[in-house]
């Protein structure tokens, strides 16, 4: 690495300092820089001095003092730079600590808000079940369970995957695609509800990675990952026999990731975050005259009417 810098290997007459004062004008600046890093002024001065050096002893004394002053200044410069670097260090770690504190604070805020959402949602569903008839309420609960927007409990399986203990390479880590495949295999094995580390999956959930972190519905999850699924009895057997489980077992053998499937009873999966409302239209008011008029008149085509089976 140091070879191009080392003038000794370039074969110039380095060994004899006496032949030094000859200046060679290299064709370009960088070549000269690499061949002879010493300021050419030293050689010039040495050449000029060889003749008369008795005549300027007083100047010699002043210059010597100047040299020493320069060295003192250099030393002070080093010390100042050292001081500055040391002084900046706490600033840097302070800024870092501040950022970490902010992250924790915001995470706490987000958790509080999530709890409040949960509470409000419970109130809403209580109010809703009070307002709805029994059959409608049951139907709504079933729909919520299927779509992932209601808490469900039941028996099922727990799939645990974790990074290899010495996870240096990306291959010995659990990837987002592993979790995707596990979730899909569980769905196809008959799962009715799935959660990853307590994050309920819906039909529009995303499992992806960003910067080495796996995000489930844009919320980071960290290993060990626990994919919980509620479903029929034979789901565990079917999942174990699935292609994904086979692939994961091979990954376990090759890369040391841990992967285990266990039957579990009485699982409770939380509800997924409320989906963003994108489209809504007012329900038809049960006003007899208006509904009669609406039924009687031909459809104007102004807006699609909610079908009677789609309410809920």
């Amino acid at each position: 690495m140091s070879r191009p810098v080392d003038p000794g290997s370039a074969g110039d007459p380095e060994g004899t300092p006496a032949s030094k004062p000859e200046r060679h004008y290299a064709p370009d600046f960088l070549t000269q820089l690499f061949q002879d890093p010493l300021d050419p002024g030293y050689a010039d001065a040495a050449a000029g001095r060889s003749g008369d050096h008795e005549a300027r002893t007083w100047r010699w004394g002043t210059l010597r003092t100047l040299t020493l002053v320069t060295l003192v200044v250099t030393g002070m410069l080093f010390a100042m730079a050292y001081r500055k670097t040391v002084a900046e260090e706490p600033d840097r770690s302070q800024a870092r600590a501040g950022l970490i504190a902010q992250i924790h604070e915001r995470e706490k805020d987000a958790d509080d808000l999530a709890r409040r959402t949960e509470q409000l949602r419970r109130e809403v569903s209580a109010a809703r079940s009070a307002a709805l008839t029994d059959t409608e309420a049951i139907r709504l609960r079933e729909l919520e369970a299927v779509t992932g927007f209601g808490r469900v409990s039941g028996d099922g399986v727990v799939v645990r995957v974790a990074d290899a203990p010495d996870a240096e390479s990306a291959n010995s880590r659990v990837l987002d695609i592993d979790l995707q495949k596990i979730a899909n295999a569980l769905w196809s094995a008959g799962a009715e509800a799935i959660a990853i580390n307590g994050q309920r999956l819906t039909s529009t959930s995303t499992i992806r990675s960003a910067g080495g972190t796996i995000l489930v519905d844009f919320r980071p999850v960290t290993g060990p990952y626990e994919v919980t699924a509620i479903g029929p009895r034979q789901m565990e057997r079917e999942f174990s026999a699935s292609e994904t489980a086979g692939v994961m077992r091979r990954v376990v053998q090759v890369y040391g990731i841990s992967f285990e499937i266990a039957d579990a009873d009485d699982l409770t999966l939380p509800a997924a975050a409320e989906p963003q409302l994108r489209y809504a239209e007012p329900l038809v008011t049960p006003d007899p005259t208006e509904s009669g008029a609406a039924n009687g008149s031909p459809p104007t085509g102004a807006s699609p009417r909610p079908s009677s089976s789609g309410g809920g």
Binding site: S2, V5, D6, P7, G8, E14, P17, K20, P21, L33, F34, D36, P37, L38, D39, G41, Y42, A43, A45, A46, R49, W60, L63, R64, L66, T67, L68, V69, T70, L71, V72, V73, T74, G75, M76, L77, F78, A79, M80, A81, Y82, R83, K84
Partner: protein
């Protein structure tokens, strides 16, 4: 021997007095340090080559520090301060490296 003592005295003075660097000059301190290092190693090498010259040393120190600072200042004004300071550090680094290699050959014959 005396120059080494002067350098050590400077370091001690700097650590004790803790002189305040004016804020506008603060960004140029690292570059000034590299430039000063270049002058010091150039001086040591010239000493070992037997061609040390006080005037040359003083002038090379001052001009090194000033020119390096000026180039970086100019770069800052033009918006290429980072790149220019990299250039200055590379050129001075090559010179320091070459001079240290020469010093090494003088001291260890290797």
């Amino acid at each position: 021997m005396i120059p080494v003592l002067a350098l050590v005295a400077g370091i001690v003075l700097g650590l004790y007095l803790d002189p305040a660097v004016p804020a506008p000059l603060l960004p140029y301190l690292p570059i000034a340090v590299v430039a000063a290092l270049d002058a010091v190693f150039g001086g040591i090498r010239a000493k070992l080559d037997g061609i040390f010259d006080d005037k040359q040393f003083v002038i090379s120190f001052i001009s090194n520090v000033l020119v390096a600072g000026l180039i970086v200042y100019l770069g800052d004004q033009l918006g290429v301060g980072g790149q220019l300071s990299t250039g200055v550090v590379v050129v001075l680094g090559v010179r320091i490296f070459g001079n240290v290699a020469a010093i090494r050959r003088h001291l260890f014959r290797a």
